[in-house]
């Protein structure tokens, strides 16, 4: 099914690039930074308007495997010298995100852009900046790929 994988990703990338070029269509605060191949894409995300994350810019890394779109992509915030992940009850300090649409609730009706918008609204609706429960334990033992973690989703579904 790798035909589906490449066909669909090329299509999505094409749509994103068209959107990005057109200020009227593009989703505010979300920008494609890099998509050199069909394996890893980078986006920058910021929450516009009033929110706890005003004037903060985060980078999102989206990794695909050939099972896409039947399996969700691996999505996480970039942690580097320049960018830090947001302090959010569903975001661990290693950048991993606990969101059901990245796991059991994934479906092919969603898309990379839909994921970005969901995560942006997850940040926008945050009431209190705090780390997830058990962050330290998780970060110490977490696998490199967040898809290998079986999150237990609770609270508001994002």
């Amino acid at each position: 099914m790798s035909v589906v994988y490449s066909r669909r990703l090329k299509k999505e990338l094409q749509e994103i690039q068209i959107e990005q070029a057109d200020p009227a269509k593009r989703a505010a605060g979300i920008q494609l930074l890099q998509a050199e191949d069909l394996k890893t894409w980078y986006f920058s995300i910021e929450v516009l308007g009033e929110s706890l994350y005003k004037n903060e810019v985060f980078h999102l890394m989206v990794r695909f495997d050939p099972e896409y779109p039947f399996k969700s992509p691996a999505v996480q915030f970039v942690v580097s010298d320049k960018v830090k992940p947001p302090v959010h009850p569903h975001v661990y300090t290693n950048g991993h995100i606990c969101a059901s649409i990245l796991g059991d609730d994934w479906s092919p009706t969603l898309s990379v852009m839909a994921i970005c918008i969901t995560i942006q609204s997850m940040l926008a609706s945050c009431k209190k900046k705090e780390l997830p429960e058990g962050n330290d334990d998780y970060v110490r033992t977490a696998p490199d790929n967040p898809k290998k973690t079986r999150f237990v989703y609770h609270g508001d579904s994002v």
């Binding site: 099914m1 589906v4 039947f70 796991g103 479906s107 092919p108 009706t109």
Partner: protein, 558 residues
Amino acid sequence: MSEMNAQLRVPTVNDLRVKLCYICREEERYDSPPDPPPVWTHPCKCTLVAHESCLLHWIKTQQRDLGRARDALKCPQCGDSYEIEGFNPTILRILDFVNRTLSRSGRIVTACCACTIVLSFGAGIYFTCTTYGAFAVRELIGPELFRNLLTSNPTNWPWHAWVNLPLIPLTLIASRTSLVLWTTSPLVPLLFPWPSSAPVAHAFRLAQSQRPQLWPPPPALVCALFPVIRTLYTRLRARVTNAIVKSTIPRPQPQNQEEENREQERQGLGGGAVGAAQAFEFQIHEHFDLEIRTRIRMAAVNPPAPLPAPAPAAADAGGAAGAEVADIPEGERAQEELRAPEGQRQPPQDQQGQQQEGQEQQPEQQQQPWVEQQQEQQVAQLPWGDEDLAAVAARTIRVTGSSLGRLVGGALAMPTISRIMGSFLLRLSHVFPLIRAIIAPRPPRTGGGGGLLGLFGASGGVPAIRLFGAQGEPTGFGARVLSGLSLITTHEWATSDPVWWRNILGLGMFIVVKDGLKILHLRLAKKELEERHIKNKSFAGVDLAGLDLIDRSRYEQK
């Protein structure tokens, strides 16, 4: 319109101008199909359409994932169920069904196994308890009655035996905890049901010539009076303990005109001092050093605290004392019964004797002064000031391995102790007619009973009151009342050798003696604590240069 409808039909996926697969995002215009044309499907109620191959792959992917398999056949947008048709022969459906049934029955078997394990564990406990219960009843009522009422063959047992017997060890143990609810219960399964239980063995049917006796009292009466006697005994013991333990502390002799006051104060102190005594006793048995240290530390940290109300203190005397001092329930009963023939109960301590009755009748009136006096007492007498706290501390750490073993072991040994003490009493009764009158032994039914009965009559004073006249009617008022009380007592029970009676009396004696020894232990240990001092040693082995001595020339280095 309806004519039009007749010609129209509902559109399908193949009627769309542009088809967009929601999975691979491929578009297809109706006028430019690829070659070969892919199969399209509209599987649900919403507008999503997909390539059939994409959708089948999505369903397969979902079904492989345990967490998502449940929703594999549902549209992610509208939730409508996909219907799959095609190759699904009967044999596959049957095999699927068999497989599902097997896994379901696998779950049932697992549940059954768990149930079996739990049940057999419970049954093991049940039969162990029942066996012990039968043993305890045999010890208490003697082998002869046991053979008649129960026999050693469980198939003969009446139905209530299966309820009462397993309850016996449980109630025995529970009676030694501080749960007030349970303190009265052990006699209920142990003694109460058996007098009314129809004999199951007929080999020892009683000759009609032997008649039921008025003495010993009917077991129902014993059971009913037991809580009262137990409470009285507990209070009495608390006062005795209080008096004996406290008397080692020198205290000013009460003035004559104040004597009543002081005496009342001392009586009122009963609850608190009992707590003290318990704490002390606990120290003797268990972690002696630790306890002392705890007590001292608590005394240091806590100024005289508000005291518990007298009522809880009294409950302590009954409950906690019951647990710690190994209060065996039959004991009080027996002790009181022992005393009864000798006249009114006499408190053993002369100093308390006169106040005893009055105090017992007016416990409420003491309550108010009690608190104040107790606090006063605490300030005045430092060594006793913290004892209530110590009692609390003792209670909180009471459940240790050792104390638990004592509790359970002591409870389960009661029937055997009572049997041994009962036979001891029987032996004594050969020498002392008074004891024989009290325990009222009867000969075994198997032989030559009449002679011994006659002997009793002859040896004098045996209250062999006849309950039934020649026609089996109660005669006389007292007899009628008592026969009413013993109505539920079978002939079998009423006419047999009252082993249970002397066993209970014996157990009571045992408890009195044991409590006496405990109080003695308590007093000696306390005296040792009060009078201990540290032995002085010389500076042998110490470098004299390091000592600042008055006259260095007078000492030698050793």
